[in-house]
Point group: C2
Chain length 68, copies 2
Amino acid sequence: MRNRIKELRKEKHYPQAQLAKLVGVTRQTIIAIENDKYDPSLSLAFNLARILNVRVDELFIQEEEYHD
Amino acid sequence: MRNRIKELRKEKHYPQAQLAKLVGVTRQTIIAIENDKYDPSLSLAFNLARILNVRVDELFIQEEEYHD
DNA sequence: ATAAAAAGTAAAATATGTTTTACTTTTTAT
DNA sequence: ATAAAAAGTAAAACATATTTTACTTTTTAT
């Protein structure tokens, strides 16, 4: 899963520390997610989308969907 | 976080076991999420939304957002 | 060129999500 | 009323997300 967090955060001129505070996690979490170390929880995904003024499905791009 | 999975699954007449198979998890995971035991991962949320033909933000309702 | 701010790395500890197995209860169809 | 299908409960094991702490590297502004 890719995401546009770094891009949209920069448009708003937020440093990672400020975005972290706005969504209620630590700076390490923002770094890890921006750099694709792991995916955020669903709840954090919603908070990030809200602060960055996009929908969840605009912020995250699922590249490998499950097909049965 | 609430969700409309049970409702939309029933509209499609899928038993839990079939939905589980379609999104690539076990039946227990579907049960737990439908009954609000915990939230799905972001990736599972996307797969559920895709199979149920709605957007992620239509399938899940965040009731307690974080405000700093 | 320097100092300060921002971003990144790493690893251990804790919290949350998912699977597996087995068994019970409820719903649906005959 | 019965059998079969679907839904639910529980708990242990395992996987993934988040925090905390400490330190390093890169970027920005003067």
